[in-house]
């Protein structure tokens, strides 16, 4: 499995490095999403990540699986695509991103032709991710800290990361792969904060309270 992932990532990297600029063409992908028991899974967001050509910047085109698990994703660039999925309400992180999955083999690779629909694509949901939630406050006053920077990453592979900021009410939320994690928080006027390693199993939610200490 590991070997497969390495090969896959390498292939994608190579594909992304192509310099040839070709006119973009689009087709569609149709298939079904099933859960780990093979039963139809509804409400799953499906998207495509082009592997041969530069993908379109801008609005991400998603399809959502219906009650029977079926989906049709349109505006998929022609060529090889990695079909990714997400249902964060049930802790399935978006597999487009490196911090979201350690098993890229779950993302089917499909070839899409211009103005054609590639059918029969089966997506099987893997194990669930973990949810990290919390709130960032001033250690002394308990007030919400604004303009925070949050970096969540796999503790054993820091390049697999997500970088964001807390909401206006100081809260934050991540859904990522169930790996040992670490969270770093920074904010102007406060000492840098690094969490201990966060361990959570698939489907678990961990809540953190980040008390930032002002710089004296």
């Amino acid at each position: 499995m590991t070997l497969l992932c390495v090969l896959l990532i390498g292939f994608v990297s190579l594909a992304c490095a192509q310099q040839e600029i070709e006119p973009l063409e689009f087709g569609s992908v149709a298939g079904e999403v099933v859960d780990q028991n093979g039963k139809p899974a509804k409400g799953v967001q499906i998207s495509a990540l082009p592997m041969e050509k530069t993908h379109v910047m801008g609005k991400v085109i998603y399809a959502v699986s219906g009650p029977d698990g079926k989906f049709v994703l349109s505006q998929v660039q022609s060529g090889l695509n990695m079909i990714c999925f997400a249902k964060e309400t049930e802790l399935y992180p978006d597999t487009r991103f490196s911090a979201s999955t350690d098993d890229l083999s779950l993302n089917p690779i499909v070839k899409v032709k211009r103005d054609e629909t590639t059918t029969g694509v089966i997506i099987q949901l893997g194990r669930k991710g973990v949810k990290i939630i919390g709130k960032i406050v001033d250690k002394r006053t308990g007030l919400i800290v604004q303009k925070t920077g949050l970096l969540l990453y796999w503790s054993d592979e820091p390049s697999k990361s997500v970088e964001t900021t807390a909401a206006l009410d100081g809260t934050f939320e991540f859904v990522v792969a169930p790996k040992p994690l670490r969270l770093e928080v920074s904010a102007p006027g406060y000492k840098h904060w690094v969490s201990p390693v966060i361990l959570a199993g698939p489907g678990e939610t961990k809540e953190l309270r980040v008390n930032l200490e002002p710089v004296t």
């Binding site: 990532i9 990297s13 600029i21 801008g58 997500v162 900021t165 807390a166 909401a167 206006l168």
Partner: protein, 757 residues
Amino acid sequence: VRLACLGIILLLGALLFQAASDAQTPPGSMGMPMVAPLFLENPQLSSMLTLVNSATISESADVVLLDPEGHQIVKRTITLGPHSQAEVAVRELLEAADSTVTMGSIEVNASDENMAIAAQLSISGQSPARALHFEEELVMPMAQKSKVTRAAVVSIAGSPVIALRSLSNITQRITVECLDEHTGLIKSMVNVPPGALVLWRACVNDGAIAEPFINVFDGDESKARRSIGLSVATNGAPGGVTVYGVGLRADDTRGSAYAPINFVDPAQTRSSSTVFTGVPVGPTDSMVGASFQPELAVTNFGKAPADTTIHYSFTGLVQVQTDLVAHVVVPALSTRTVALPDLEADPGMQNSFVIDSSARPGELYASMRSVSDATSWVSDVLGMDAKQSHNGGLHPWNIADGTSSTLLLFNHTRTAQAFHVFIAQETTVWQKNYTLGALETRAISLNSLVATGQKDDLGQVLAPYPQRGQLGWFTESHEKGTGRLLEGRLIGRLARGFNCGMCTVLCGASTSPSTLTLLSTQTGTATETAQWCTSNLTCPGQCTGTPTTHTAIDQCSWAITNNAIASIQGSTTGATVTIGGLAPGLTAAQVRVSTATCLFIPQTQVKVQQPGQLYVLSDSYKILNGCPNTKYRVIAYQIQTAGGAQGIDITLDTQTKETFSSVGTNTCNTGVKTSGSCSTDTGGQIHDEFSVNCNTVGGSCGFTNTNQQWRWCPSNGSTSQVIATIGDLVVHNDGISVGGSYLVYPKGTIFGPSGKI
């Protein structure tokens, strides 16, 4: 009481009946379930009880046979599946109990207060050269209002025999009056012991006990054929005695033939009009080879002459023709046979009669029979009160072994009426709405429905099998129509009429969805569903009850409470309407669902929204799979209505696109392009991603697009509208600025048409 064959049997009645049906104790004079006063089981005649369950679940009923002294012979619990029928052979029950009884009574008692069961007893057999058959309507004594019950019977010979079945724990003094067309009033009296069954020759001077030998109805040929009326009064409480009679219709070389005499409490008659629905007249399609001639008699039990008219309506291929076919003045306390002329008729039995009189309700009784002398085929037609409290019927149907089943409906009013018909076949409930014009009779052949695969209002068809089941019909309120089911069998020349009534009311209505959310240029639909209930206590019903499975079409009218916010497009009277959003706001689509007696006004809340701003759900830098060295930023927006912090999420699928004032050159040579066409945002969410993607240039290569704006694309094709101005996008390999910020925006940031709010 004839209408009480509807077995809506109450738990209260069941409990009381438990005491009444005790084997050794004569029953008390209390409320009771259904009673068939007389069953016969001898070498010549057999009795068959037919039960029909209109409930959507299995139900059971106790069938109790009582001997002439009122002692219980046997009790058997009969379970009926949903919307099903069952036949119970009395002979089988007697054999199971090793009983040699040849006559007695039947009581039917339901186990569930919600049970809706109809029951009818058929007595049939074979004389030397003709089939014998007559129907006995079950009586519901608890519905009896007076101490009197009456009947009329057309054209019989000899003295009819009436079965007097006591439901009282005291000896009752019964007064019988026979209004003989030839000899006038013959009065007799008889004592009926508690719980006993007495057979009484009603039209001989001073009356006479009829011994229960096999041919109890034979042996009295002393009188020529004529019509009679019968009145039976008790000195006990109302419902203390139930009555059924049999007359000798014919006694010739082909053997004897009998006529049923079903009694009705005059206090339950609400009008002076009697309706005979779907009468075979002339050649009749479903009873091939027979040509029928109707016979009619009327009895005036009142003390003044009754001016009586007979109107006949037949429904031809193109129109209904109604004629006054007879007019007779019936003297007080007398019976008259009414001569009917030759009548033009519909071979499909779409022929009905209405008998109107000047007598008070419950004073003039009519009896009708249609006879085919050539084939000895006879169809007894039960008269119905034009203002009967029931508004529907509940019948079995059977098309097996060459049997025909025809539902006959008659609109006896002067305006068009809707008849809702539902036919149950195992789990399928075929349902269709028929509109009958004034005085129109409609024959609905079950055989034809099945053979032609006719679709109902829901697109369903009846399967070839099973070939029997239960059916019902109803009008939107009582007094609007009558109906019966005629079962014809070529073998044996049987014509069984099923007449049980039921009460069905509009008992609720709902709309779906409960809230319809629309964008201001969108349309959506709302649907109304009426609920119909079978009343289990009173008739006419009270607009309440337990909903049934059928979804009859009803009268409905839709309206929007605020037409500035939304409007109805197209028809406003259908079950489903199309609603178009006009302007942001909240309104309601109300629908008036009504019958003549019940009204419900459910509503669907209509919420019209218009995109006006974007709310940041998340903004983060992530590492795209396969592209670890290039910055990638993605912002998720929720489309909202305008209003800043008070904006409301629009979770409908919405179409948007992005535009720029200028698009810069990409120095990373990755050919990044933007998506500038309208596309759908599922759930009203936009995920906007920014990256130059994998490249070999590296460093700070990238591009700048100025003045990013998000536009809503209205579904009606009108010009797109700006809902959010984000600002310039500076997208480089090593950094991404959106709207002037390399830092991600916190959740809750709002962008409006003029920029960040």
